[in-house]
């Protein structure tokens, strides 16, 4: 008998259609993954199942959990079911916990509101549950003292404290590092087997899906387009959207060979022994201030026309390094030079160097001043030039930059809110290209994009390399992306570059244990058995 069965679920919020005829069912001990891009309705399906839809939502159809139709159940009974018959884990562990309560109290609360038991007993069981999910800190700690991975374990402990029949996990590992992700996924898998519960996993990451799911549900724009047992679906995809989605996820760009540059003696970018330290709060009142070494003797170089990747987990120093290279922050030790000129001189960034360097940031929604038009946004780097083009020359430059990234000159007079995330990232690239820099830094530039859009932007980057000799530093936590767009890769851990080499060499034959663990932890998309058309 299935524990969860959703039949013809449709949902409107206000005037907007969110879900159409969504159906799925799952058994005890089964992991069902709902996947799709943003706006596909996967999270709303999860919230409908929990009965936690926002106000004004009008769901229709049936959601039968263990014989009870959620949609017909009054709110007071739903409260008894939540946490008891079904539990939920959310995406953002940093904000999912109440900051002013201890973690033990928050887990115990699940037990206390559903069972008549003493406070001491509930806290004892909470402590056991925290141990079961692999948390090695005391239940008396507060959330802010824990890392993201640890907090996610607390949220899981809360959700499973009463051994619910159904656990819903909405992007539970998206905000986590790849090694932490692997641990959390292992934990979820173990818990499903041990408690014989059903796990409804919501994720956009197809590699995760292929890795852990027993059954896959692919959604697009509020509809289920394809569903089936994982092995069967992977080898036998029917719907074009499913195929396109998998293709885009494993998308390999056709990166042109590095054009051999005229022999230049110096490196384009050369960083020698960089050290950057941040002071930490004092441990004792009069003691010395401890320091955090964000960059610890980092040395590397980038050649003219070379495409270099930088990978590492959050907190490894990637962002600090980016800021140091861009000359946004000075370093305490070492030397960073571009074309043999220091990026930072006498406490001031060196404008001569800045001219040769531009950056594309991660978040397409925060990268632009919402009050300026595109033409003003993308010409901001002209500020670096001594004689910025005016009149016709300026228009020509705008037109060329926009066309280079697949947009048109008409777009120059629009405001940024008129563009989608992918288009915004194109505009960000146009802004970086407009002064024809020698080096571009892509700082997690495709990480916030849906897979299909990501594939297009990656293709665009490869395309640009074909048009001009382009050197870039591609910073990402996503190994598969770095693998496809770089010639050489550097691996960073705790402020140090622990390994660097030709991209293929490092990926196929990693030397450093950390690199090995990173590659092992990254979920792999299975090789698709047949060729598929692109989107």
């Amino acid at each position: 008998m299935s524990i969860l069965s959703i039949r013809n679920l449709s949902l409107r919020i206000g005037q907007t259609d969110i879900l159409h005829d969504v159906s799925l069912s799952m058994q005890h001990g089964e992991i069902v993954a709902i996947t799709g891009e943003s706006g596909s309705g996967k999270s709303m399906t999860a919230l409908s199942t929990m009965g936690l839809l926002p106000g004004g939502a009008a769901p229709q159809g049936e959601i039968i959990l263990d014989g009870i139709d959620i949609l017909q159940t009054p709110e007071s009974d739903l409260c008894h079911m939540r946490g008891n018959a079904m539990g939920m884990v959310f995406q953002e562990p940093m904000t999912a916990l109440n900051p002013v309560q201890t973690i033990g109290a928050q887990v115990a609360e699940t037990i206390l509101i559903h069972e008549k038991t003493s406070k001491a007993e509930a806290h004892k069981r909470a402590a056991e549950m925290l141990q079961r999910v692999g948390l090695k800190v005391a239940p008396t700690r507060y959330p802010h003292e824990l890392s993201g991975g640890q907090r996610q374990r607390v949220v899981i402990a809360m959700a499973i404290a009463l051994r619910p029949k159904l656990l819903i996990a909405d992007e539970p590992t998206t905000a986590l590092d790849v090694t932490t992700q692997a641990h959390i996924l292992d934990l979820l898998r173990d818990l499903v087997r041990e408690f014989d519960m059903g796990l409804l996993l919501i994720t956009h990451d197809l590699a995760v899906v292929a890795d852990v799911a027993d059954q896959i549900v692919v959604m697009q724009k509020g509809r289920v387009v394809e569903t089936g047992p994982t092995q069967h679906l992977l080898t036998n995809m029917q719907h074009p959207y499913t195929k396109a989605l998998f293709e885009a996820s494993g998308h390999k760009v056709d990166l042109p060979m590095r054009t051999t540059m005229r022999m230049v003696s110096a490196y384009l970018l050369h960083a020698k022994h960089i050290v950057r330290e941040y002071p930490l709060p004092r441990k004792t009142i009069l003691g010395p201030r401890p320091v955090f070494r964000a960059l610890d003797d980092v040395s590397f170089h980038i050649d003219h026309g070379e495409r270099v990747g930088l990978v590492g987990e959050s907190g490894c120093g990637k962002s600090t390094l980016t800021r140091a290279i861009l000359g946004l922050e000075d370093v305490q030790g070492g030397d960073i030079r571009l074309d043999d000129e220091p990026v930072f001189t006498h406490k001031h960034p060196n404008l001569v160097v800045r001219r040769k360097m531009q950056v594309v940031f991660q978040d397409p929604y925060s990268s632009f001043n919402p009050r300026h038009r595109v033409e003003r946004l993308i010409t901001e780097p002209f500020h670096l030039l001594e004689n910025p083009p005016t009149g016709k020359a300026r228009e020509a430059a705008i037109s060329k930059a926009l066309q280079d990234v697949g947009l048109s000159f008409e777009d120059a007079h629009k405001y940024i809110h008129e563009f989608s995330g992918g288009q915004r990232q194109r505009i960000a690239i146009a802004r970086a290209l407009i002064i024809e820099p020698e080096l571009i830094i892509f700082d997690e530039a495709v990480s916030a994009l849906d897979v299909s859009v990501r594939a297009q932007v990656l293709d665009l980057i490869a395309d640009l390399c074909r048009k001009r000799p382009l050197a870039y530093l591609f910073i990402s936590h996503d190994l598969s992306v770095v693998r496809t767009v770089t010639d050489r890769v550097m691996v960073m851990q705790a402020g140090k570059i622990v390994e660097q080499g030709k991209t293929e060499d490092v990926f196929t034959n990693p030397q450093h244990p950390y690199t090995q663990s990173l590659i092992a932890a990254a979920p792999q998309l299975p090789e698709l058995p047949h060729a598929v058309e692109t989107i």
Partner: protein
């Protein structure tokens, strides 16, 4: 247009018009006393009645609106003109000593409520409308400085500011070009709120004799005069009180309406 915005604009416009018209015309002259006709209840000749000197209350209200609006407006101007640049500067130098100094200075000014500032100034320079402006204006400075800094700090972390820095723009230029336009809405809304608080503060200061002095008409003064007469001629206290209430209410509704219209996410500070 929301209901708040319509009612707020109408009420505010009413008092601004009354004040403006008073420059050209008032129903009666308020400089001449007419003791025989004192404390008259509202009638055809005196729409809102007369006070204890027989002066026409409507005319007094019109002249008083002038004082209130002038004092509150200039005080908001002082607060914005000094507070916003300070806030921008503090945000641009966030974490540095200068930021710390500005913010500590703000805390210090906050420890002096505008009434206490008024007391200090009056004790040394004597009471006047100008002193009321200075007292309220000084109090407005940290309000705007804090708000500006608070709104500017998250903007400084946004990628578009980083992009501008990568383009070599100075902190001052970024503050003017990128930060300021993105906090304008907030400042307009808070400015409206401070304007209304200024009206209240001016009335309170002139009520206790620390603000505008006779013969300058002011709503607070009118209430002070009415205090001993409240049992025999309630209208002398009710009319100026309702004038303050409606003007402040109008400005607050206008502020709320503007916020909903410009950007519902704006959070104003109200103390």
């Amino acid at each position: 247009m929301s209901r708040n915005l319509i009612i707020g604009t109408a009420l505010s416009a009413l008092f601004v018009t009354l004040a403006a018209v008073s420059f050209l015309w008032t129903p009666h002259d308020i400089e001449t006393l007419d003791i025989p006709n004192k404390l008259q209840t509202p009638s055809g000749t005196h729409v809102l009645g007369t006070d204890h000197f027989g002066r026409d209350i409507l005319s007094m209200i019109m002249m008083g609106a002038r004082t209130s609006i002038a004092v509150a407006l200039v005080a908001v101007g002082i607060g914005m003109a000094i507070g916003i640049p300070l806030g921008l500067l503090a945000a641009a130098r966030r974490g540095a000593l200068l930021d710390e100094l500005i913010m500590r200075g703000n805390d210090l000014v906050f420890a002096f409520p505008s009434l206490v500032i008024a007391i200090l100034i009056t004790a040394v320079f004597g009471a006047s409308a100008v002193n009321a402006i200075i007292a309220i204006g000084i109090f407005n400075i940290p309000v705007f400085a804090r708000l500006t800094r608070g709104a500017a700090l998250p903007l400084w972390e946004r990628d578009f500011i980083l992009a501008a820095r990568v383009c070599g723009k100075s902190a001052a230029r970024i503050s003017v070009e990128h930060i300021l336009p993105n906090i304008t809405n907030l400042m307009i809304v808070q400015g409206t709120i401070q304007f209304s608080l200024g009206i209240l503060a001016e009335a309170a200061l002139s009520y206790i004799g620390l603000g505008a002095q006779p013969p300058t008409a002011s709503w607070g003064r009118m209430l002070a005069d009415a205090q001993t007469l409240v049992s025999i001629a309630p209208h002398t206290a009710l009319v100026p009180g309702f004038a303050i209430l409606l003007m402040v209410l109008g400005l607050n509704l206008l502020g709320d309406g503007l916020r909903d219209w410009l950007d519902p996410r704006i959070r104003v500070a109200r103390v």
